[in-house]
């Protein structure tokens, strides 16, 4: 990023932070959790990207059965499975993609499930009303980003391409890793996820990352805070979020996530009790990760690149898809009832005591964060040593 390098934020942050702390003390306000005066250095970031940690291998060798076909193929298979004729099915599928089908055709697609008497049922609300025609193909590759969340090395586990660690739990990638729109890599994020976040980032409050350590250039303890801002990100002249924007931390306790860990050879390894992103960060109404783990890398351009792993109730991921309805199915190439069966089968943690069915699925997310300033939201005015007032406010442009 040309003239911007990361070294300068260190100096600026130190001064600013001292001032901020002085003010906070002066006003008798101490920020909850996020302020830790013992830390000598702070680095502050705004989350530029938050999407699934995709790892498509060249030539699709991780999907030997091929990638999941077009949404039309999958819907066709299901419509045929509930007994519709070839002609009727073709008519429905052709017209819904053409966009001229109208409400009747939309409804036929939505109500393609059947109850025991053969009556139409809502296929997204009741995915089991659609037969499992195994429409989604699983990812069988050896590599995926993530963490060994359960401490075991199981048959379905992956190897992490960054660390070469075995026993990586990322069952979500097993389930959805052959979806066309989820195919991507560290440098080329998957189409649907990146597009979704690119839009969401303009419309929701930003998410922030604050790192605290005694000295980032040495091995030692580190604390990672992830929380929400009061403001949205703003773009620069090249269309990407601006660096060094000032955000206020939203003090709501529900937005605060803390990870403790170490820096080793410049890489951050940290673990937390829980991780929550409320709001609508990724089409997922409430992204809650159990036993979250965090691994971060300082990039040359000053940004922070990280992966975040943890268990998520798989029905939350299903809800993300089912909310979208037919538009989501045809735009994203995700067959919703097939997604239900696939996630259910891939789920790998927290079995239901009654049924034995796993309720959670291991996931990994990729974060890219760019330098920013973070201030407490109570700190509403300029630094305290400024005694003059702004009297020119009637002429704001």
């Amino acid at each position: 990023m040309g003239s911007q390098n990361h070294t300068s934020i260190k100096t600026v942050s130190r001064t600013e932070r001292g001032r901020q702390l002085g003010l906070a003390l002066g006003l008798g306000i101490l920020a909850v959790g996020a302020t830790a005066p013992a830390q000598a250095e702070t680095r502050e970031y705004m989350m530029n990207w938050f999407i699934e940690a995709s790892n498509a291998l060249p030539n699709d060798t991780d999907c030997p059965q091929g990638l999941n076909g077009s949404p039309e193929e999958m819907v066709t298979a299901q419509l045929r499975a509930v007994g519709l004729s070839k002609e009727v099915t073709e008519n429905l599928v052709t017209n819904i993609t053409g966009g001229t089908g109208g409400p009747a055709i939309q409804e036929a697609i939505i109500y393609r499930g059947r109850d025991l008497e053969g009556r139409p049922m809502h296929a997204y609300a009741y995915p089991v009303s659609v037969p499992d025609v195994k429409a989604m193909k699983s990812n069988t590759g050896p590599y995926a980003y993530g963490f060994n969340l359960d401490g075991k090395i199981g048959p379905n586990d992956f190897i992490d391409p960054d660390t070469n660690e075995k026993g990586i739990d990322n069952a979500y990638w097993r389930s959805s890793g052959c979806q066309v729109n989820q195919r991507g890599s560290r440098t080329e994020p998957p189409t649907y996820g990146s597009r979704h976040w690119d839009i969401a980032r303009d419309k929701q409050a930003a998410w922030l990352v604050r790192l605290e350590a005694a000295d980032f250039s040495k091995d030692g303890d580190v604390t990672v805070h992830i929380f929400r801002a009061m403001e949205r990100a703003v773009r620069d002249a090249t269309g990407v979020p601006r660096r060094y924007w000032t955000f206020r931390r939203d003090p709501d306790a529900r937005w605060q996530n803390t990870f403790k860990g170490t820096i080793k050879n410049g890489v951050i390894f940290a673990e937390g009790e829980r991780f929550e992103m409320l709001g609508d960060p990724y089409g997922v109404t409430n992204l809650k990760l159990r036993v979250p783990k965090f691994r971060g890398y300082f990039e040359k351009d000053g940004s922070l690149e990280a992966v975040l792993g943890g268990y998520l109730p798989w029905k939350v991921l299903y809800m993300e898809g089912s909310n979208g309805g037919p538009n989501y199915e045809f735009m994203s190439g995700t067959n919703i009832p097939a997604l239900y069966y696939s996630l259910k089968q891939a789920a790998d943690a927290s079995p239901d005591p009654q049924t034995g069915q796993n309720t959670e699925i291991s996931t990994t997310w990729r974060i890219n964060a760019i330098p920013a300033f973070i201030r407490e939201s109570e700190q509403v005015t300029a630094p305290a040593n400024v005694q003059f007032s702004n009297t020119s406010n009637s002429r704001s442009k």
Partner: protein, 556 residues
């Protein structure tokens, strides 16, 4: 008469206030300028220069007269800068056919809005006998009042008769009273009496044997000098009743103009002109190298400097020289991301007020208005800084010194190649370039002061080093040494040329031309009083406006 911008209702009321306020001018009252004076002015007034309204003045007048919600749809023909000021250029610029066409199109838009169903009842002080035909009496009430505000004096009888004739004929043939007014109004808006600030010269009452502006021209000159807009009701009254021609009456009006919050409009207009800030609209930076420099950021940068100036000179009545050393300024989050400082905007999302007062800490290099992104980005190239352009701007804009243009056939290659490993910093490149004898002379005038700002990149952001090499900001100006941008500000502010330049520019801005040779004594006197009053610019403006020389024609 405040300048209302919004909301709509307030704007309409403002327009109404103008009309109400001016109903005091009975139609029978005109003309106060009689035919005899007219002849005098033509004979003696060879030196009164017509100044064409600037786009900002046009906008402000339209909003003052018709309400803040009237939109200007279109662009104006540009005005050239002469003697460092557009305001001087406006007294020399011609009008092209295309420029007239733009004015006419804008005038049609303004007239149509002013007389549309929403505005006509507020702006027209009477109802026509019939809306589908002419009503001379009602048309006259509207046209004489609006005409006085637009022409900045009561209309001559023939002028009013002409506007009435247009309104009557058009209303009759188009069967619409308001269509008649619209046509008459739009024609007023393209007539020279409106587009040009014309000044009438009469024999001086205070300095016998010389000539000076008549009272209405004085009122106009004062109003534009202090407020950058058309005279208000009280100023008109003072012109009409003759009090403006007396020293006491003049002082009373000047004190009132200075005390008004509208002084800020005038102060901003002057500094926008003096600092060439109109050109900031054209500044663009390489988006890949300087992604934070967007149009919004450059708009904010201009506003930052104008706010800093306005706060210091108007609100604090501060010392002009401190503009080059002040650490106090106003910032937005946008500028914060450019300067890499935290600027919290605690206003609700979408709230228009986004400015926070900010004071840079002791020891910071960002000191004084010359270090603002506005100044350093304006005088730089799209992809790199230019110590030469910055030094030249300091000489020409701040110190009123002339720097010769570069000679033809100069090889600039070494300057433009910022990747040459031999010359990592601008100073090294300039040294290599200025070995050519024909270049050295001028670069000695510009570069040392420009190099003091090298920590500020072309987009206004701070940089510690250039291409990994440390930046040397030491230098000398007029025998005084400085070590960085902070001490440069100290030195520049103390230069006699800095304060005398301000006096000269402000005088020329008010007069619409450089002070004449015979007025040299006056400007010298002004410099003395500027120093005596602690370099307070508002006091200087009062002194200028209180002098008979301010209203003299250049022949004197």
């Amino acid at each position: 008469m405040k300048s209302f911008r919004s909301p709509r209702r307030a704007a309409l009321l403002a327009g109404a206030a103008v009309i109400a306020a001016t109903t005091a001018f009975a139609v029978a009252n005109f003309p106060s300028v009689n035919a005899a004076q007219e002849v005098t002015s033509a004979a003696a007034g060879d030196n009164a220069r017509m100044r064409r309204l600037t786009p900002e003045q046009y906008q402000r007048i339209v909003n003052d007269v018709f309400g803040g919600d009237i939109e200007i749809r279109g662009r104006f023909e540009p005005i050239p800068r002469v003697s460092g000021l557009l305001e001087v250029g406006s007294g020399q610029v011609a009008l092209t056919a295309a420029g007239f066409r733009q004015y006419y199109s804008i005038a049609q838009g303004v007239a149509a809005q002013a007389l549309d169903a929403t505005h006509r009842d507020i702006l027209v002080p009477c109802k026509p006998a019939t809306p589908t035909g002419a009503d001379a009496a009602c048309a006259q009430q509207f046209l004489s009042k609006i005409g006085e505000l637009l022409y900045r004096r009561p209309l001559f009888p023939d002028e009013l008769a002409k506007q009435m004739d247009i309104a009557t004929k058009a209303a009759t043939s188009m069967k619409d009273f308001y269509a008649g007014l619209t046509l008459s109004l739009e024609s007023m808006l393209v007539q020279p009496q409106f587009l040009y600030r014309q000044e009438t010269v009469v024999a001086s009452k205070t300095m016998p044997g010389t000539s000076e502006l008549d009272a209405y021209s004085k009122a106009t000159r004062l109003s534009f000098f202090f407020w950058d807009s058309t005279p208000d009701r009280l100023l008109f009254e003072a012109a009409r009743d003759g009090s403006l021609d007396t020293p006491a009456g003049l002082k009373k009006q000047v004190d009132r103009l200075v005390a008004s919050p509208r002084l800020e409009d005038g102060m901003r207009a002057f500094f926008t002109d003096m600092l060439n800030f109109d050109q900031l609209d054209l500044v663009a930076k390489d988006a890949t190298l300087y992604p934070n420099f967007t149009r919004e950021a450059s708009d904010d940068a201009r506003e930052q400097t104008l706010r800093t100036i306005s706060h210091h000179l108007v609100n604090q009545n501060g010392d002009y020289r401190e503009l080059f050393t002040t650490r106090k300024t106003f910032l937005t989050p946008m500028l914060g991301s450019l300067y890499r400082v935290a600027v919290v905007n605690d206003k609700p999302n979408g709230y228009p007020q986004k400015w926070s007062a900010y004071e840079y800490p002791e020891g910071d290099q960002r000191v004084g208005i010359l270090t603002h992104a506005s100044f350093v980005s304006l005088h730089s190239h799209p992809g790199r800084t230019s110590p030469t352009l910055r030094g030249k701007a300091m000489r020409e804009v701040i110190l009123c010194q002339r720097v010769p243009d570069p000679p033809p056939n100069v090889n600039f290659t070494v300057l433009q190649d910022t990747t040459n490993p031999l010359y990592k910093t601008a100073r090294e490149r300039l040294n290599a370039h200025a070995t050519e004898a024909m270049c050295t002379g001028c670069h000695k005038i510009t570069d040392p002061i420009g190099l003091a700002l090298e920590h500020f990149d072309t987009d206004g952001s701070y940089r510690q080093s250039e291409n990994g090499a440390s930046i040397d900001t030491n230098g000398m100006i007029d025998g005084k040494a400085f070590s960085n941008s902070s001490s440069l500000g100290q030195v520049v502010g103390q230069l006699p040329a800095a304060t005398s330049c301000l006096v000269n520019r402000l005088t020329a801005y008010g007069l619409g031309r450089d002070a004449s040779r015979s007025q040299a004594g006056w400007t010298k006197q002004l410099q003395g009083s500027f120093a005596q009053n602690g370099y307070r610019v508002t006091d200087l403006m009062k002194t200028i406006a209180g002098s008979p020389e301010f209203f003299q024609s250049a022949a004197n």
